[in-house]
Subunit: 326 residues, 2 copies
């Protein structure tokens, strides 16, 4: 029976054991005490975080093909890479994992590539918390680059997609696709645009639409996301995409925006963790004996709801040990 | 300058000073320390809560006309009445107040009627908390019956409307009106239905639609909401409505459901107050110096987000005095 102890799993994963890495990620995804333990071990080891590239867009835009090509380019550059494929559209099927494996078959025998599908199991909020944690796990075990591929629909997905240093937004030619991306909040998080399937009619128009939107939103001196036309299935435009990714990373390092951006991500994560912990506190309260007592006092007319709420909140502090497992 | 001290306002209002009552309600609506003080004074005095009747339905269904007629019936019965008119559709205009006054002109010189428009000022959540508090204020100053008139669209409005012992849902004849009421969640909170404007075509069909939905949802032995056809502008159907209101109140008292229902309302209010207080805690944390310190520790890689969140939560308990003003 393989160990599920976070410490042994991390040591094995750092020594190159991919099965141990997979199990460690499962521990993190499941949450609770072991996940908390894993997080504490991983955090200091993930300080030398490599590049994190996010690839997002509407379903069917060609994100996986582009991810596949980008992985090849990262490998050709001599770097190892971890891929997080997040597919909320098939939360229960497990099919995403198989699909990714088939798609990325040429990487499957490559020790320098680790591919992981994260199922959402209907709990997107959990995913939003697990993603930065799993990114740190991949960095801690020594993978140079992390690629997060995620469907860019809905607020939380966009939030997950923005867990990157460089976010690539993939759109397709066709009337309104740029507008849809804008509505989905993708324009705000894009550092690089890819107009994929550019051999289809309307590519030039889509590029113009994007450029017009950028004209309105990008201030002078800010990074202006380049727009790359591509036909990823044929490898067309991939060199330009690679160059654009490099330019953006250079910009991040030159402008000190890399550290600032990572700092903002960590602060957002802290806020998220805090809210989650307090939600758990409230749930625990609402199930507890003290809640029953005090709400009985209220319905009997002995104390008012505000006083009862304050007494309940005072309870929260008292039985909580500092650094208790989350 | 009239006093704004909650205690003097309450004493004056209990002695029949309507202007003081109005100012006391404004104190409650504004929230903060004085509202907390008012709540503490009012709660024990509101134990002998009289009947609370809610009147809700889509905009234009004729709720205000029915409220007006019900107020007359309550007065004819020898009881005093407080009316809370809640109109989220005109949050900033203040016009609702004038409109109500014109509409209810015949009650405006009646000392036994107190009419109050509550503006939502774009903050429905606040309204959900203020409504039960204001109902208690009206009871505490000795008004026998409280009528809450509210637009029944959206989750929070329905929640506000359900702050009553008996909830009247007003629909109009016309294809699908009953279905719309169902979608809006009004069927679940209805104790009495009024098909108002019953002189228009389709009244019988609407009654049938409602009856069919009740057949599906009301279990044997449960209260089955009666359906009253009315033309409120001509006073038609108002005696039947009055009888239905009486029947329902008798049922509540006979079945001990009155106390149970009021207990559930208080428990819901307690939960709401608790969540609101914790939201305020989180906001205070997010603005505080300790948040800055700890998030700097996190971004510097010295502690992980989970540990920082736990340290922040520990802060919440420490500087909070029991029974501090809310």
């Amino acid at each position: 029976v393989p160990s599920r102890d976070p410490e042994s799993l991390l040591l094995a994963a750092m020594a190159g054991d991919r099965a141990a890495l997979g199990r460690l990620i499962s521990v993190v995804e499941r949450g609770g005490g072991p996940a908390r333990h894993a997080a504490r071990l991983v955090f200091p080891r993930a300080r030398q975080l490599g590049r994190v590239i996010g690839i997002t867009g509407a379903p069917g835009a060609g994100k996986s093909t582009i991810t596949d090509q980008v992985v090849s380019l990262i490998r050709a550059d001599g770097c190892s890479v971890g891929v997080l494929a997040i597919d909320p559209s098939s939360p229960f099927s497990g099919g995403a994992l198989l699909g990714d494996r088939v798609r990325m078959q040429r990487h499957s025998t490559d020790d320098g590539v680790f591919i992981r599908s994260m199922a959402t199991r209907g709990h997107l909020g959990g995913l939003a918390l697990a993603t930065p944690e799993v990114v740190r796990v991949l960095a801690a075990v020594g993978l140079d680059v992390v690629v997060i591929e995620t469907v860019g629909v809905g607020q939380i997905e966009v939030e997950v997609a923005s867990n990157a240093d460089t976010t690539v937004v993939v759109v397709n030619p066709g009337w309104g696709d740029a507008v849809q991306a804008n509505k989905a909040g993708l324009l705000e998080i894009a550092d690089v645009f890819v107009v994929n399937k550019a051999d289809r009619p309307g590519a030039a128009q889509t590029r113009q639409d994007l450029a017009a939107m950028l004209d309105m939103s990008v201030a002078r001196g800010q990074w202006r996301p380049p727009i790359v036309e591509a036909t990823a299935t044929e490898g067309k435009g991939m060199d330009e995409l690679w160059a654009a990714l490099g330019d953006h990373y250079d910009y991040l390092e030159r402008s000190a925006e890399l550290g600032a951006r990572r700092g903002r991500r960590l602060r957002r994560e802290l806020a998220e963790v805090l809210v989650r912990q307090m939600e758990r506190d409230v749930r625990a309260l609402a199930d507890g004996r003290r809640w029953e007592q005090l709400s009985a006092e209220v319905t009997a007319g002995r104390i008012d709801p505000y006083e009862a709420a304050e007494l309940l909140r005072a309870e929260l502090g008292s039985d909580r040990a500092p650094n208790a497992p989350s």
